[in-house]
């Protein structure tokens, strides 16, 4: 009975969340799959139920920060942007994005607002405050498809990101693509290799016991292949994020996600 139930549950989830989005990655054939599909039923429940998802604490913290006035201008995020439920809806699906001629990640744009409009200091990567604000903004796009497109403005950056993705790196001499494209769906040790789509960030990773950004996750992989990690907030990171978002275009955001 339990097995039957499980089969039913799995069957349903494939029906509802399954790879119906058109293939978008460079290799063309593989349908997009969120790594949500590879998780246990318990972990899926943890992500789906706001009363179980620990990342919702960060969303709450983010809302408190959103309404707090800071800096020389004594402005809060809300002073300009109002209610995030309205103003930030769909925003996270467009990032990384060219803003005033510079490629910005969502975190980068939040810091840009803090330094520019609010006249205060920028927040450190992986700091609780930056993660909270990112989670709040990303949460407003939950369920909406990633809508990053190739444009004349971002073309060059996207190309550099693509290069990073296909370039072998580190002492293990591996590229992102060798695992997350050629071997996606197979296993590394006991763990399934996901296609590597950035559609749930920031994620509450059980291994980390906390919320973390896409860049933290990317640095994980880079250290895994014994490569020199890109710096937090570096242009290389933004380019890679851009390529990954473009590669996952059409896949619904799950932010804030839970991953094992």
């Amino acid at each position: 009975m339990r097995n039957l139930l499980l089969t039913l549950v799995c069957g349903c989830s494939i029906l509802f969340f399954g790879p119906q989005v058109e293939a978008a990655s460079d290799n063309g054939k593989q349908a997009l799959q969120s790594s949500y599909q590879l998780m246990s039923a318990e972990n899926k429940a943890m992500q789906d139920d706001p009363s179980l998802n620990p990342a919702m604490f960060w969303v709450g913290d983010g809302q408190a920060l959103w309404d707090t006035q800071v800096g020389k201008s004594n402005k809060s995020c809300a002073s300009c942007h109002g209610d995030p439920k309205k103003s930030m809806r769909g925003v996270a699906t467009q990032f990384p994005k060219i803003m005033n001629g510079k490629l910005q990640t969502l975190e980068g744009q939040i810091n840009q607002c803090r330094v520019g409009a609010q006249g205060t200091s920028s927040l450190a990567y992986e700091s609780k405050d930056l993660l909270s604000l990112t989670a709040l903004v990303a949460y407003q796009s939950k369920g909406m498809p990633i809508s990053v497109k190739e444009t004349p403005q971002n073309k060059a950056e996207l190309q550099k990101g693509r290069q990073s993705f296909y370039e072998r790196m580190g002492q293990l001499n591996l590229s992102c693509a060798q695992c997350h494209e050629e071997r996606a769906g197979l296993k590394l040790g006991g763990a399934p290799i996901p296609q590597g789509h950035p559609n749930a960030y920031p994620i509450y990773r059980l291994e980390w016991q906390t919320l973390g950004s896409l860049q933290r996750r990317l640095r994980n992989c880079m250290s895994g292949v014994r490569a020199q990690q890109y710096e937090y907030g570096s242009p290389e990171m933004a380019q890679l994020e851009l390529f990954l978002a473009w590669r996952a275009r059409g896949l619904p955001l799950e932010s804030p996600g839970v991953r094992p």
Partner: protein
């Protein structure tokens, strides 16, 4: 960890008398085990929640001790019997003066 933090309670707002109700209580907490070292090689002191209690109209109905092996942002799911209309109070207390209190009301018919 700060002296207090966010908590969240999920339980039915009404129930039939004598019904078993499920309560979910989650608290935001790092649960620093006291076994980890910083990058500088210094032991990070233990900072965990020690006790969780639930009182139902001032009668204790559930209590749990927490230990360093429990992960961050601990979630507790337990049940109790809906006996009378009133207030359930949830209290987490721990190292370094940490204390968080949350309440939920239930109407029993």
């Amino acid at each position: 960890m700060s002296k207090t933090s966010r908590t969240s309670i999920t339980m039915p707002s009404s129930a039939k008398k004598g019904a078993i109700i499920e309560i979910r209580a989650i608290a935001q907490h790092d649960m620093e085990s006291g076994f980890r070292y910083s990058e500088g090689g210094k032991l990070i002191p233990r900072d965990i929640i020690r006790v969780f209690t639930c009182t139902y109209n001032d009668v204790e109905v559930f209590k749990a001790d927490f230990y360093p092996g429990i992960g961050a942002n601990p979630l507790i799911i337990f049940t109790t019997i809906a006996t009378e209309t009133g207030t359930l109070e949830f209290k987490w207390s721990g190292d370094d003066g940490y204390e968080a209190i949350n309440q939920a009301h239930i109407i029993v018919s």
